[in-house]
Symmetry: C2
Subunit: 294 residues, 2 copies
């Protein structure tokens, strides 16, 4: 039986150390500070932990898997910095601390985001320069760039900005969520699988698992925004309602949204159980992602 | 004898067609429009043409070199969009047309820049998935990401923002210029060389050529900002003076700056002439970059 809380804490510590080591060591101090500030602001490190958990499940022996995990978190952190900008969501708080642009100004925040995104690809290219890793690396870069681009995260953010104050259908909310949040979570799983030399059948199973937990994760996020407390979340709650942003609870109703999350969790468990490897870790992780209160 | 004007026009047409073909074909229309708008605004396409000219010089037979050229221009265009933002240089005109954020708003402009940067790496990863290209691809991605990151272009933009209204020494102006402009020009040359299977001696010679013409190019830019006309440049002139931004003419005096550009050109010609291949094309190209009036 896996102690998932212990697993999460262990991996979070490993990821935090690795992120610090992988930040650029030279360059103008102000930009390095801003990058470090946003990375250090904490967060659950879900994406890198997903990558590591997939590698553990597939019994990946390479230490370099941590490079992939870090690249995922760099991309996630860049997206938070840019989403928080006054031109976008205009958020003052993130993970309980003032947002990057509130501390360093808008110009530095734009550039710190740009730098984290750029650095993610630099890390992956260094990974790819290790003997025998080039082919995996280009596949991982293809996966990550496509998940982060206009058909993935960036496209989702555009839809999100456009959705403010509009009534969306369930399909539109789903498309937005799959692009904005789901794509990068899926990339965390799939990149971990590619790095672990997964075959096409394994990739299919893990991709389907990732799709289900990505959506369920977003539903939980929306429900917490509706019902959670500011202290637990470290950011203002009710943000979606305040801006009239449509989300899962607003189109389905909170009760049906909650039911859908449970259903997706169960579906993810069924998919992942068809893996040849024991999938307890990924099941426990899915449970944690979906049935959380912050 | 090479007709360099004809060469430039031919390659510019090839690059323009290729860029259009390589833009993402799906995703929310607004972001695709904004990306296309900024790419189509024209420009000299110097970076992609440098890549192609290096490949021609090294007799590279691969058609895929155009992928590298396009990635360079995507990164360059993203940097212009972000540099023009109100939080940065707050420019209303670029290449004679309203800047991206003036047309699409700040949020879309930030995301269009992000998307062009992300897409550059996606293109390079697709290039790397062609049979036998993975190792070259990861080297090219390493080169491009490092040239665009905190020790390159982004770092240079931070120094540029910090320099406003300050007196800089010659060394500081040089560091800023090498990072902000030189690094990406150098990457255009070096990535073209890697894609053409250049050896380490060739890479060294081409890197040195690229360093010299990069600096000379920046000096010419500064002189044109001082002395050129708005009609020729398609953007307001005197922008540096207006913001009290130190640059080469301001630290060296215009006459000495001009002399330094000529000297760097001559140095680039000497370096490049040590290549085993005939270097007339790269010499003519350097001349065009440096002795231009717009």
């Amino acid at each position: 039986m896996i102690d998932i809380d212990q697993y999460l804490e262990e991996k979070r510590n490993i990821v935090n150390l690795a992120l610090k080591k992988r930040l650029p060591q030279s360059g103008p101090p102000k930009i390095l500070d801003a990058m470090n500030y946003s990375l250090e602001a904490g967060g659950k490190r879900l994406r890198p932990i997903l990558t590591l958990a997939v590698a553990d499940t597939l019994d990946c022996k390479s230490n370099s898997i941590i490079d992939i995990a870090c690249a995922l978190e760099f991309v996630h952190t860049y997206s938070l910095i840019h989403d928080d900008l006054p031109a976008m969501d205009n958020s003052n708080l993130r993970r309980g601390k003032p947002t990057c642009h509130r501390v360093y100004g808008d110009a530095v925040a734009v550039l710190a985001g740009d730098a984290l995104l750029t650095h993610a690809f630099e890390i992956l290219s260094r990974y790819g320069q290790k003997e025998g890793y080039a082919e995996k690396s280009v596949k991982i870069i293809a996966e990550l760039s496509s998940a982060s681009g206009v058909t993935g995260m960036i496209g989702g953010q555009i839809l999100d900005l456009e959705s403010e104050g509009k009534a969306l259908t369930f399909d539109q909310v789903e498309r937005l969520s799959v692009m904005k949040t789901g794509a990068l979570l899926r990339a965390a799983v799939v990149c971990g699988a590619i790095a672990s030399d997964a075959g096409s059948e394994q990739l299919k199973i893990l991709g389907s698992y990732a799709g289900d937990i990505g959506t369920a994760f977003q539903i939980t996020d929306d429900l917490l925004d509706l019902e959670g407390s500011r202290e637990e979340l470290g950011k203002p709650v009710g943000a979606d309602q305040e801006r009239y942003k449509p989300n899962y609870p607003s189109v389905l109703g909170p009760e049906n949204a909650r039911k859908k999350a449970v259903m997706l969790y169960e579906q993810a468990v069924i998919s992942i159980s068809t893996l040849d490897q024991p999938a307890e870790l990924l099941i426990e992780l899915a449970k944690k992602l979906i049935f959380r209160n912050k």
